[in-house]
Amino acid sequence: MSNDKKVSRRDFMKGAATGLCVGAFAGMGLYSYSPWAYSRLPKVQRKLEDFGACRSVRVTNISETSWFNNAHLIGDIHEAGGLLVNQYTLNWAPFANGKGSAKGSYDEAMATIKDLIPHDLEKAWEIQKGLSLHPENPGGYSCLIEVEALDGTITKYLLDTGWSYEWMDASFKREGIDEMLKAHEIEALFISHEHWDHFWGLPVTTKYDPRIPLYVHDGFYKEGLQYIKDCKHTGDLKVIKDPVTRIESGMALLKFDVPIINRVFGETSLAFNVQGKGLVLISGCCHQGILQFADFAYTNLKYDNDRFYGIYGGLHISPFEDWDPKYDDLVISLGKWGFERIGCNHCTGHLTAKKFIEAGYPVVRGTARFRSASKDYLGNGDKIAFGC
């Protein structure tokens, strides 16, 4: 009897031990990778809009030095009354009327140079320099984007057109943009946002090619739309209203509705799907914040390998002052997306760029020519290619 008990107890233990392993493995196998298991984790709904693919994208930095002295720029803004002041009243060239800080007016300024743009920009700029605050400060932001389609044809686009007529004209000539514009080789001009350093140099483009198609955000104010007319732009003006606008295969314009300092509204940025590589993001300033930009692209677009491949431009961190200072590590957050080629400049911040490099991110270094300050940046005249 006792022996039987022993046997049955042993049997029970054998069964229990086997069952334990089988049960645990069964649980692992049947539940772990199942939809129920994942219902416990938060999900992001993705649209995965297919916008085609291109073979490669090349960016030539025409100019990234928007202004040469930060202290003067910020000083002028605060002098005028702060970040909400309308940029057209700051009294910077080409919208200066000589009346001093915060007393500018679009119409008065335009009256001084209206007849000169776009054919005689030297004279127009000279007049405006006499009327404006810190006349030597303006530079500009602009880059040339060459998109190679799958069949090998190359299309050229301009993103932004800078600020100072003088500086931008020289920069255009340096990179041969003037000849391209004259030959109507450039398909379109995208204005990322209405800020002085991206948009006010518009006559430098219309001087060479007034019929170039122009894309702007529907956040442009009436002065901006008037300026386009005053620059004698005769081409197609496309005011972007949709969150995603397909430009050509593998190229889309993304629209962000975000208020920006000095009464500017909204920014558009470009996204490319480079075949076999992944997504490339190109922005002017990225006021929407690089993490929002990436998050929006991730939620809305479909791209090869489902990988973020490259990024170029100014990388503003976030329009939001975060509530937890301990969490302000853009460097870590950017690492999450794992870009393979990072080309940063303009408003990124030199220390931020240095931190990217220290963190081992693939930052493409520049040559620090033509008044670009640092080799950690893709400076004026530098090039970066994605996918070739």
Binding site: P42, K43, V44, Q45, F68, N69, N70, A71, H72, I74, G75, I77, H78, E79, G82, L83, L84, H217, D218, G219, F220, Y221, K222, L225, V239, K241, D257, V258, P259, I261, R263, F265, G266, G289, Q292, D295, F296, T299, H316, I317, S318, P319, F320, E321, D322, W323, D324, P325, K326, Y327, D328, C347, G349, H350, L351, T352, A373, S374
Partner: protein, 610 residues
């Protein structure tokens, strides 16, 4: 109505799904004004991944507010959106005790902070933190914009059968006690006021109409699956609606048959007491608000002055470069006064032309006259309107000698603190050898222990002990490469000095602990409110050996606690603006001297209660 600051100016129509975004945009616009941030106690916001909501913090409460989009639809009169407000208390906040048990459980989970950040992805989990709902409606042609808050005045849920502790030994909630007992409307109000004030500011006009209705929500019984009965008590649901523009163009919302109108009127009509002074009536015109003078502290535009001290090679320049870029990326300005001629200066590339750096041409700041310092500051302020002015002392300067001069600059700058960097790698040796280095630590209001990556834990602990012997009151952060977010060190708001950040609790120290070393700090506690005149008298007659007095005080003639800042014979009192539950106190720092004038304050304050 002009919505061009928060919606695309050249848009043709507004879709409902863009509406929640406008609320976030109005905050972004309003926060470009420094006074707005101070008026509302704004502490920043962060968007949730996927854009379904955002989190933000206000000074009124220590926790995090969350706003998420519930739904948005286009109606006959125009687009409307409904948002849910949440409040995520800090795990040790008292208010948590009055929230649902599920919230208590969630808040004690370790992943809670991270989950709050992305709460919009967890609609079910965040449900127990919901406190109110907000409606936003836009009439066609932008004729009117309406914002309303619907919240329960006081939410009570009684656990009829109680909730036993998991081990069955006693009660989590005793039978008949309240599981939930929360004044939800009161909690939601600071955020609602901030949203409405932001809309007023970004629309540039004041609201035309305020209405308040309330209705009774009868109580009900619920039963959990395991058979416990819960009774939700009768509740009053209050709806506050604010309309900008032509109020007739928006349908009256939330008016049920049983709702009772409490108030209905324009800005100058009969308003309930609690919204009489609400910010949304005034933020459309900040200039007028400034002239009214009621919120002087919010409009204090003097730059903050930070004295940056630290022995040679402690990393001051690195730290400064971080500070510069941090503010530059927020379109603010940091100006620097240096006197390290021939040393590596601030990274010139950050500030090309670096006109915002003034170098004083005397060999050492501590020997210059206040006059030249004042001239430097005036020049900087006039051309750059800096947010912060940093006075970078040489590595061999004794900050105590600067405090006298700084007192004389009060009309130009708001003295913030002495920040001292300590080089962890060499501190032990330097602090032993050098009197000046010890004084730099003693004078510090904020200590940054830099180069922590170069030392092991034991060395670091030893250095911290050594520093604490010299200065037990200053908050200390450990860094390497001087990397620290300035927001952690400096409270940018002049009114809202967090009491905890101001001074950590320190033992009462009376003379002698470092008497032979030259400097001591002495703390006085005050059990009862002070008489203002007496305090002023005491401060005026303070001996010159006292360099610095800081503290939080209560006065007999005012309800609000006030902050005292005394530097080099001059002092400033400003309202604290937050709750302060500890005992009021003062800390005096200086050479040993007779401090009886201050100690007498505490002896006599009971007798003076006026």
């Amino acid at each position: 109505m002009n919505l061009s600051a928060i919606l695309p100016p050249s848009r043709t129509r507004t879709e409902a799904r863009a509406l929640p975004r406008t609320l976030a945009n109005s905050l972004l616009v309003a926060c470009q004004e420094r006074p707005f941030k101070r008026l509302t106690g704004w502490r920043g916001m962060a968007p949730c991944i996927g854009g379904r909501g955002w989190t933000c913090r206000l000074a009124a409460h220590p926790g995090i507010y969350g706003v998420s989009v519930t739904d948005a639809q286009d109606t006959a009169t125009g687009p409307t959106a409904r948002l849910t407000l949440h409040y995520f208390p800090t795990p040790d906040e008292d208010i948590l005790e009055r929230m649902p048990l599920a919230a208590v459980l969630a808040a004690t989970q370790p992943e809670y902070p991270a989950a709050v950040r992305e709460f919009a992805s967890w609609p079910d989990g965040a449900q127990c933190f919901a406190i109110a709902s907000v409606n936003l409606a836009l009439a066609d042609n932008d004729a009117a914009l309406g914002l309303s808050l619907m919240a329960v005045e006081h939410s009570r849920v009684i656990a009829e059968d109680g909730v036993p502790l998991p081990d069955g030994d006693g009660w989590l909630v005793a039978p008949g006690d309240a599981e939930v007992d929360l004044a939800e409307r009161e909690l939601a109000m600071p955020l609602f006021e901030t949203l409405a004030a932001a809309l007023s500011l970004s629309l540039g006009e004041r609201p035309t109409l305020f209405t308040r209705t309330e209705r009774m929500e009868p109580g009900r019984e619920t039963m959990t699956p395991d058979g416990r009965r819960f009774r939700t008590m009768d509740a009053t649901i209050v709806t506050d609606s604010i309309v900008w523009g032509d109020a007739t163009r928006l349908p009256a919302e939330d008016l049920c048959a049983d709702a009772r109108s409490i108030a209905h009127g324009g800005p100058d009509g009969e308003l309930p007491e609690d919204v009489h002074k609400a910010l949304w009536w005034t933020t459309h015109d900040l200039a007028a608000l400034e002239r009214a003078g009621e919120h002087a502290a919010a409009f204090d535009m003097r730059p903050r002055l930070v004295v940056l001290s630290g022995f040679l090679g402690a990393g001051k320049t690195t730290f400064l470069n971080q500070l510069l870029e941090y503010h530059a990326s927020r379109d603010e300005m940091v100006a620097i006064i240096q006197n390290e001629i021939g040393q590596t200066g601030v990274d010139g590339k950050l500030l090309e032309g670096d006109d915002s750096i003034v170098e004083l041409d005397e060999g050492c700041v501590c020997c210059t006259l206040a006059g030249s310092l004042a001239r430097g500051i005036e020049r900087l302020t006039a051309s750059f309107h800096p947010e912060v002015i940093v006075l970078e002392a040489t590595g061999l300067a004794n900050p105590f000698n600067l405090l006298d001069e700084i007192g004389a600059l009060r009309h130009l700058v708001r003295f913030d603190s002495v920040t001292t960097l300590v080089d962890a790698d060499n501190a032990a040796r330097i602090l032993d050898d050098c009197d000046i280095a010890r004084n730099q630590v003693r004078a510090a209001d904020i200590l940054v222990l830099n180069k922590c990556d170069l030392v092991d834990d034991a060395t670091r602990a030893a250095i911290i002990r050594r520093i604490r012997e010299l200065n037990a009151r200053a908050p200390l952060v450990e860094t390497s490469h001087a990397q620290v977010n300035p927001a952690l060190l400096y409270d940018t708001d002049p009114v809202q000095i967090a009491p905890s950040g101001l001074l950590p609790n320190m033992p009462e120290q009376h003379h002698g602990s470092h008497a032979d070393e030259g400097f001591i700090s002495t703390r006085f506690g005050f059990a009862a409110p002070l008489n203002r005149a007496r305090l002023v008298e005491a401060l005026v007659s303070c001996p010159p050996e006292v360099f610095r007095i800081k503290g939080i005080l209560r006065f007999a003639d005012s309800e609000e606690p006030e902050v005292l800042q005394y530097v080099g014979g001059r002092f400033e009192l400003s309202r604290l603006g937050g709750a302060f539950d500890d005992e009021p106190f003062l800390v005096a720092i200086g050479r040993p001297c007779d401090l009886s004038v201050l100690s007498a304050l505490s002896d006599t304050c009971e007798g003076d209660a006026a």
